[in-house]
Amino acid sequence: MSDNLPAGVERRDFDGVDRLATRGEPVYGEPTDGEWRAWDPTRSKLGAMFELGMEGGFDGGDTVLYLGAASGTTVSHVADFAGPTYAVEFAPRPARDLLSAAESRPRLFPLLADARTPETYAHVVESDVDAIVQDVATRGQARVALENRRFLADDGRLLLAVKARSEDVTRDPADVFADVEAELEAAYEILERRRLEEYHTDHLGIVARPR
């Protein structure tokens, strides 16, 4: 399983438990071991995707566009193992925590913008990023992925965590996921899909590449 982990992410022993970890300044009170900090899959959808063995296609020093950075829990780990990382978050309150994660990470760039309107940050985020990580809890998550396709290199990867309840709380999550996947097919080829149920209720992890 660990074969699929990106360079810079390792399984390490924290108090007898084998956990994912990256190297960097602690951000949210996570356990540390020297310069390694544990990556909690129950607090991070990307962490859960890696924990479940999904293949992100990272090969070290990748440029990443992270949509829905929130308080920076996950994006801080991404910046630890990847290269230049653009973190887009709309809400000012969580962005305050994101900012403190960015202060100790010279290649993490916080942007207060709405992931649904990429033209408001296309003058800052570079083209041909190696990966887009998306975790936005709004309606129209497939739309956001399609809109942001413009940033992704042709051989890049989209790592998407779909939250069923953000689309429609009353529908069966399986139906919501089917709709999201169908909409994604317009611009992406889905390589892998997995329910993240063990760690996050009603979430689907998707890895896709542009068509």
Binding site: A102, L108, F109, L111, E119, H123, V124, V125, E126, S127
Partner: protein
């Protein structure tokens, strides 16, 4: 900046002082991204890509920091924090008062419940040493209750400044609660009146959406006299009418800030009509 597709955020920014960087990052637009690090090096903004990324980091963190500070200092944010703190203080004071009453019952035959009794207990002189902890706890309860009252006064004073129409229609505390539940005045202004009507009744609303319950008639606006003072049979209508006016008031407050006293008159008129249905025992249709 949007006309030329090749203009990055750094084009008009001084590379050394990063003057104008925040404006460029926040106001700039581009339809498509480009290889900005390479273009910036080409344009002489940075000697190499590493130096570009250093400047980008400095500029983005600076812009984000200033924007966050500005938005957090905005008055409606302050109000939201104040009203939430007020509710927390009140709740905690009441909880501790219960605990205190239970304890006091074992030493004081005249023990009563509530904050008033805590106040009485805290003001006692000549406390025997074995009751000192009890009296000290009473003191904390009083402190929390006083803080809640001070916060309420703050909310009552600030809400009419932030949202004059909403405060006039709903009363300052209910207005602040609505802003808090919506997550800010702007979010409240963007909500349809049907949502305003059930703000604070999310559990009941989702139970209804899952098909397990009837639709809620009102959320937090229940505490408004227009709803509470109406016969239960017509509370749904009253809540709908009130929510409609509150939604309009929030929009006026957010987008124009002008005072519109006619809203209050219209609401009073409408509520009087609704309440007259039961007063006269007559027709109940809309």
């Amino acid at each position: 900046m949007s006309e030329n597709p090749d203009r990055g955020w750094f084009d008009d920014v001084d590379p050394d002082g990063l003057e104008g960087a925040r404006e460029a990052i926040e106001e700039g637009r581009a339809d498509a991204p480009a290889d900005w690090p390479a273009l910036a090096v080409e344009a002489g903004f940075a000697v190499d890509e590493d130096a570009y990324y250093d400047r980008l980091h400095e500029a983005t963190t600076m812009a984000a920091r200033e924007t966050i500070r500005e938005r957090e200092a905005a008055d409606d944010r302050q109000l939201v924090h104040a009203v939430r703190a007020m509710d927390d203080c009140e709740r905690t004071a009441n909880e501790l008062a219960e605990r205190l009453a239970e304890w006091a019952g074992t030493v004081d035959p005249d023990a009563r419940t509530g904050v008033d009794y805590a106040r009485e207990l805290a003001s006692r002189a000549d406390v025997p040493p074995e009751e000192r902890r009890l009296v000290s706890l009473a003191d904390r309860v009083v402190g929390l209750a006083d803080e809640a009252a001070a916060l309420r006064a703050f909310v009552e004073e600030r809400t009419p400044v932030v949202a004059p129409n909403l405060a006039a229609l709903a009363g300052p505390v209910l207005a602040a609660r609505l802003i808090s539940l919506a997550g800010g005045l702007e979010s409240l202004a963007k909500k349809p009146s049907g949502t305003v009507q059930v703000l604070g009744a999310e559990d009941a609303l989702f139970a209804h959406l899952h098909g397990r319950a009837p639709s809620p008639k009102h959320g937090i606006i229940y505490v408004h006299d227009a709803v509470r003072g109406t016969h239960p049979e017509n509370r749904g209508s009253a809540a709908r009418a009130l929510a409609g006016k509150l939604a309009i008031a929030a929009r006026v407050d957010h987008y124009s800030g002008e005072l519109k006293p006619e809203l209050e008159a219209e609401l009073d008129d409408r509520i009087a009509t609704i309440q007259a249905r039961t007063d006269s025992g007559g027709d109940t249709d809309e």
